[in-house]
């Protein structure tokens, strides 16, 4: 199933651009970029995304806390969350997955396959 709407929380403007272009190249129509976890939570109901991509190290509210809040809220708990982060150590992956995320992708990622990796993760879980 094709991705239509993706909500991204990423504080680095250059990486925001790479993510946006990478997903647009594969035909994703709506890519909403937010700068931190708080803005992501504020946008989630409006965007109603197929998937949320979360960085971990962000100002105001980090990725782990953001995912925990998304999963604690009945209105957002079913939206799949995938971490996209430079925190690549095993204990960090475990910590991220323990927050209820669907997947954990590490930086640097391959912009040519990012879309397909997201779709594979969503398909494995039978969503969207």
């Amino acid at each position: 199933m094709p991705l239509t709407r993706v909500l991204v929380a990423e504080d680095d403007p250059d990486i925001q651009t790479v993510i946006r272009l990478s997903l647009r190249m594969k035909g994703v129509k709506q890519i909403v970029i937010t700068e931190n976890g708080e803005d992501c939570l504020a946008q989630v109901k409006t965007v109603n995304p197929d998937v949320i991509l979360l960085d971990v190290m962000m100002p105001r509210l980090d990725g782990y806390q953001t995912c925990e809040r998304l999963k604690a809220n009945p209105e957002t708990q079913n939206i799949p969350v995938i971490f996209l982060t430079a925190k690549a150590q095993q204990f960090e992956v475990k910590k991220g997955m323990a927050t209820g995320a669907l997947g954990y992708l590490t930086k640097p990622f391959d912009p040519m396959t990012l879309h397909d990796q997201i779709v594979t993760l969503l398909d494995q879980k039978g969503t969207p």
Partner: protein
């Protein structure tokens, strides 16, 4: 000049022991204290002379309330049953509300005839080394994160330009961007390898040991390097006896070991040659040999192949220079050993041996 005569050997030994910063405790077969040096006595707030000949349990009563794992410490004091062997372990000791780390080395206490009379315990404060190690690991984790972020922008941008998504590019531009892309990929591998090696060296990886058929590990590794072998026109062969015992390994880590050895062997192999993996087993061990028909390694270089950032041969082979250091560290973590047998112009064999049965 002094008028005094030469110092006796006994007095000299005594002064040497008393001047040690490490704590030293000697205990006989009946668990009586036969020696307690100044460093340990001061640390425990006791006078050494008051304790000579007394049961060690009394001293244990002073030590144990200050240990973070008192029960483990007490069980370690049952030295009579293992009196022949050297033992080493770490002990955490609380002093002024700080947890200090000590290494406890214990040895059989022997008389001049070699007969064992008890046990000698040496306590060395390793708190500073531990703290430095922790800081090094933290630094590497932060450095790794901080390097990955700009690498993501650089690699992502190059990959997107090369895909043609941002418009057509000339052949020369493509060639130059290819070079930049390869450099990025190499930097990423380097960051991963540095982090991996530092974690293994700091004892921070926990092996998930499970009994396995080693040939399965080799098959997985061979599949992983197949495209590299095909590109290099090198064939891969596995030879092994029909029946092999299972060996306790961490599957992913052992695949990493064999993959590293295979990649190296392929990189140093001439076209149309063969890389052979041979499995052997013997009394309590299993051995895996990865051999190539490449240029070999000169005897004067053989001693440093497992060192960090070592490169051999005339051409750079695109590795990070950490592969064999990681390979060796992982084999050692499996209680195994690894070595090289090589002849110039005939090829190299990297052989690792793992113990069978639980450690």
């Amino acid at each position: 000049m002094s008028d005094h005569g030469p110092i006796s050997t006994e007095a000299l030994h005594s002064q040497v022991l008393e001047s040690f910063l490490s704590g030293i405790l000697g205990v006989d077969w009946e668990n009586r204290i036969v020696y307690l040096n100044q460093a340990l006595a001061s640390r425990l707030g006791v006078q050494s002379a008051d304790w000579i000949g007394k049961p060690v349990e009394g001293l244990g009563g002073i030590i144990e309330p200050r240990l973070t794992h008192a029960e483990a410490f007490r069980s370690g004091l049952i030295w009579q049953h293992e009196a022949e062997t050297f033992k080493s372990r770490e002990v955490e000791f609380v002093e002024a509300e700080r947890v200090l780390h000590f290494r406890e080395d214990s040895y059989p206490l022997r008389d001049p005839s070699g007969a064992i009379h008890g046990r000698l315990f040496v306590y060395t404060d390793i708190s500073r080394a531990k703290a430095i190690d922790r800081m090094k690991t933290e630094f590497l984790a932060i450095a790794s994160h901080e390097l990955r972020t700009p690498m993501t922008s650089i690699k992502g941008s190059i990959d997107l330009i090369l895909s043609g998504f941002a418009g057509d590019i000339s052949g020369e531009t493509h060639e130059l961007l290819d070079i930049a892309q390869k450099g990025c990929d190499r930097l990423v591998r380097l960051i991963n390898d540095i982090l991996d090696l530092s974690k293994i060296e700091a004892g921070q990886i926990k092996l998930k040991l499970a009994p396995m058929d080693i040939t399965e590990v080799v098959h997985i590794s061979m599949r992983g390097v197949k495209s590299l072998a095909d590109q290099s026109k090198v064939s891969l062969r596995l030879y092994h006896p029909e029946h092999l015992p299972e060996v306790e390994v961490d599957k992913d880590r052992m695949v990493q070991v064999v993959t590293n050895l295979l990649s190296n062997a392929i990189k140093f192999s001439p076209a149309d040659s063969e890389v052979r993996v041979e499995i052997q087993t013997g009394d309590g061990w299993i051995e895996c040999c990865v051999g190539d028909q490449g240029c070999g390694i000169a005897p004067e270089d053989a001693g440093r192949v497992f060192g960090k950032f070592q490169q051999f041969g005339e051409k750079k082979k695109g590795g990070t220079g950490l592969g064999l250091a990681i390979t060796q560290a992982l084999v050692l973590e499996h209680r195994g050993k690894i070595w090289l047998e090589s002849r110039v112009n005939e090829g190299s064999k990297f052989i690792f041996r793992l113990p069978l049965g639980k450690g």
